[in-house]
């Protein structure tokens, strides 16, 4: 492994990020006959299963701020968030014509309905609404989820024309465990030295993981980690914040950059949760689907798309994250018109209030162009923490 510097790695990730034609995934597919690509939307799908049948899981997170939406708007009213329209645009414009299947996980009503739209608009393509349990007892939600996983596996096996053994699944879990480990290291490093690991870079490095084969991505993260640790970057007089509330439609890169420009180091975030959804390694011994199900039920991130059965636990994950990372405040940034995130927000804010943690909130769309109001709000937040941190 040759030593690259961060700029080089980030530049490569940036190219992948901006590529709305998914050239990397197309190349992967064309490299061997019979290869198949399965697209998935945020927040979480069990990529291990797709990997085990030899397919490439391709994360599709909307069109960002560079895609011109011409047909997508024809399907959505102005009060619906942006991601489904840009996703449809990607589909209608042929940018996803190499994708052999689409998974629409259970996020919200909009993405749920998009699954049905996809069936009608692209009848030749496998598409599935991937339902997950909102109850977490092993016997109830667990059984339901294991059955859902089995169904998905069967579907994919049929699509691939091959059977998958338990060992195949275990190997894939192992591969993803490895990826989860390096991503956890990356987040830990940033929490420790945020000036060495800018938020926009972390974001780009992770985004690359949605279009690259996981093995390649693990290498890339490792390279970045090594490079980031060896470089010396100037420490700025910034405050430390956690960025939360963006569990589906991702903010434009400029927004993430603007936060740091206006004086905030991001020490934790919930961007692209799929990469960190399972918080621990998934055991490889025993029934792999059961293990995946157990991990989902008992070791997964909290987010607005999930029901919290225990009222005492509501929002505590944020407080814990603040303590863990030494953050001085929380920035809620949520997509406009996102019912789950925006309805969750007041409850989370109450928890933070109780814990005496300062916070601010604003909304964005993946194609927001005006960063001035964002800079102003984040800047004021940073100002007040800086001016009064000792007071």
């Amino acid at each position: 492994m040759s030593q690259s510097d961060t700029a080089e790695i980030v530049a490569r990730c940036h190219v992948l990020y901006e590529d709305l034609n998914f050239t990397a995934a197309r190349k992967w597919k064309d490299a061997e006959p019979g290869r198949k690509v399965i697209g998935y939307m945020p927040v979480y799908v069990p990529r291990e299963i797709i990997h085990a049948v030899g397919m490439l899981p391709l994360g599709i997170l909307g069109g960002g701020d560079q895609l011109e939406v011409i047909h997508g708007d024809a399907y959505y009213q102005s009060y619906i968030c942006r991601i489904p329209r840009s996703t449809i645009e990607l589909g209608v414009s042929g940018r996803l014509d190499f994708v052999d299947g689409m998974l629409f996980p259970s996020i919200c009503d909009v993405i749920r309905n998009l699954s049905g739209m996809w069936k009608m608009m692209f009848p030749g393509v496998y598409s599935k609404y991937f339902d997950v349990p909102q109850t977490y007892e092993d016997d109830v939600g667990g059984t339901f989820y294991e059955n859902e996983l089995t169904e998905l596996l069967h579907d994919l096996e049929e699509l691939a024309g091959r059977k998958v053994s338990e060992d195949d699944l275990r190997r894939s879990i192992e591969v993803y465990n490895r990826n989860r480990q390096v991503v956890r290291q990356l987040y830990a490093l940033r929490a420790q030295k945020p000036w060495q690991v800018p938020a926009a870079e972390v974001y780009l490095v992770l985004r690359a993981g949605l279009v690259l084969p996981v093995e390649e991505h693990t290498d890339l993260v490792e390279q970045y980690l090594a490079a980031a640790e060896s470089e010396d970057r100037p420490l700025r007089d910034n405050c430390r914040v956690i960025l939360t509330g963006m569990f589906c439609e991702q903010p434009p890169l400029n927004l993430i950059k603007s936060l740091e420009l206006s004086g905030c180091y991001v020490v934790d975030d919930d961007l692209m949760l799929v990469t960190r959804w399972l918080t621990d390694d998934v055991p490889t011994a025993g029934d792999p689907l059961h293990n995946l199900s157990q991990a989902f039920l008992h070791h997964s991130e909290s987010t607005a798309a999930k029901y919290e059965p225990n009222p005492e636990e509501k929002g505590q994950y944020l407080v814990r994250a603040v303590r863990r990372t030494g953050a001085e405040g929380v920035i809620f940034a949520s997509p406009s018109f996102c019912d789950p995130a925006l309805l969750d927000r007041p409850m989370l804010q109450n928890v933070l209030k109780e814990a005496g943690i300062p916070f601010i909130a604003f909304k964005y769309a993946e194609n927001s162009g005006q960063m001035q109001p964002i800079r102003e709000q984040a800047g004021t937040f940073a100002d007040s923490i800086k001016l009064w941190s000792a007071a």
Binding site: I80, M120, S334, D344
Partner: protein, 437 residues
């Protein structure tokens, strides 16, 4: 013909006898609710789609429906202030106004339509059927009331079918979680025969409901299946399913409809019997409640009658044969929840609406897209296009909101409706002229 002037509301409003009866029932129910505490009754809050009224009654719980409260607030023009109240408390302008109206109402003292304070619920029965927002709604209520919350997940019918896994999952939730918790909260032991008894009564009323809704296949239609339909579904989608009251109401309503049918009459509007039926429409989406009469008037003034609507299926889809089945009491509850309109996939909805346009001989589909309800609204433009394609009938699209008056622009809606009616008319006369030539 039983047309009576309602003395309670403004004097010019005309109502059928059935509407008056229904109003009485609702009033009685609200009194039961607001008297729950002195009468030592316990209260369960739950939602309309997939509501388990029969089960709730098994535990002597009074059924409180926050959605219906929000509707009542909308009709009484209070929802605007409630929504603002919730926004003041930090809720986003972007989110569901049903939720905000409910939360704003609590903040302003939780006064029900009868002017008395609504009780705090003893249990929140969160059945999130066909709508994710319900989940957040009850998390918010739980934060407020700090009471037992029971969660029932209804899997989405994404592939157009009910799988054994879905039924099994729901039955397990009901047996292992919902029923034991309801027993604990109410102190009443679950009696499955009692449930069977209620389910039997449900099915009886459901038969009459289907008859009434399908009477719109006649020309002229004796009912308006949207504006009138909202009154008709009230009891069975709410706290009355499984009661003798409901059986009696639907029998009464059926007779009323039969009378109009026999006399060849159209529906009764707030301004009296409707004039000549000029347009027959199928409507997709919930209505607007803040300007309900003004909205309805835009239709009947032009001679437009709604012959079928999807909104009258949110609390259960009965016209394809489903009835609550006393012989499979728990499974039938699961199937009921799974089948409600918003839990159906988009292809299923397209199928249903296309069939309505054809079966009810409608001139076309009108979509009333509601800002608040993504479960309904996301994808409606495609639904509209597909139904047009399949039926060859033109469709139109308007946008309002359930209970947020800021999203009802009368001029805007009227402009589109007028354009739509004129377009239908123009097409017809075009056809006529071609035939004549």
């Amino acid at each position: 013909m039983k047309i009576t002037t309602s003395p309670a509301q403004s004097k010019e409003v005309l109502k059928d006898a059935s509407m008056l009866k229904q109003k009485e029932m609702m009033a009685k129910h609200y009194d039961r609710l607001t008297n729950a505490e002195p009468n030592d009754n316990k209260v369960a809050s739950t939602f309309v789609p997939g509501n388990l009224n029969e089960l709730i009654m098994c535990f002597d719980l009074v059924n409180n429906l926050p959605e219906v409260n929000a509707i009542q607030s909308g009709l009484r023009r209070k929802s605007g202030a409630y929504v603002m109240e919730a926004e003041k408390a930090g809720h986003s302008e972007d989110v569901c106004t049903y939720v905000k109206s409910d939360i704003g109402m609590m903040a302003k003292g939780n006064i029900g339509p009868n002017g008395k304070k609504l009780p705090n619920p003893d249990v929140l029965l969160l059945s999130y059927t066909g709508c994710f927002t319900f989940m957040k709604w009850f998390e918010l209520l739980r934060e407020q009331y700090n009471c037992e919350t029971i969660f029932l997940q209804t899997p989405y019918m994404a592939d157009g079918k009910i799988t054994p896994n879905m039924i099994q999952y729901m039955v397990k939730q009901l047996k292992e979680d919902v029923i034991p918790k309801l027993e604990r909260v109410s102190g009443v032991k679950f009696d499955i025969d009692r449930l069977r008894e209620y389910l039997k009564k449900s099915a009886e009323a459901e038969d009459d409901l289907v008859y009434i809704l399908q009477s719109a296949k006649n020309k002229p239609s004796p009912i308006d299946a949207y504006f009138g339909g909202i009154y008709y579904i009230g009891p069975i989608f709410g706290a009355f399913r499984g009661t003798d009251d409901a059986i009696e109401y639907y029998r009464f309503l059926r007779e009323e409809v039969d009378e109009r049918l026999a006399a060849g009459l159209g529906p009764v509007t707030p301004d009296g019997p409707m004039g000549k039926e000029k347009y027959r429409l199928v409507v997709e989406g919930p209505p607007n409640y803040t300007n309900f009469r003004q909205f309805w008037k835009m239709f009947y003034e032009e001679g437009a009658v709604v012959v079928a609507s999807s909104y009258t299926k949110v609390g259960g889809t009965y016209d394809f044969g489903f009835r609550h089945d006393p012989d499979r009491p728990i499974e039938t509850l699961a199937e009921y929840c799974l089948g409600v309109y918003t839990n159906r996939s988009l292809p299923m909805r397209v199928e249903m609406l296309s069939n309505y346009v054809n079966d009810y001989q409608a001139d076309g589909l009108l979509v009333n897209s509601i800002k608040s309800c993504n479960s309904f609204s996301a994808g409606q433009l495609l639904i509209m296009r597909e139904v047009e394609k399949r039926t060859g009938k033109p469709a139109a699209f308007i946008e309002t909101d359930l209970v947020d008056p800021r999203y009802f622009s009368a001029a805007n809606v009227k402009n589109r409706l007028e354009s739509y009616f004129q377009m239908v008319e123009q097409k017809r006369s075009g056809v006529k002229k071609e035939v004549a030539a």
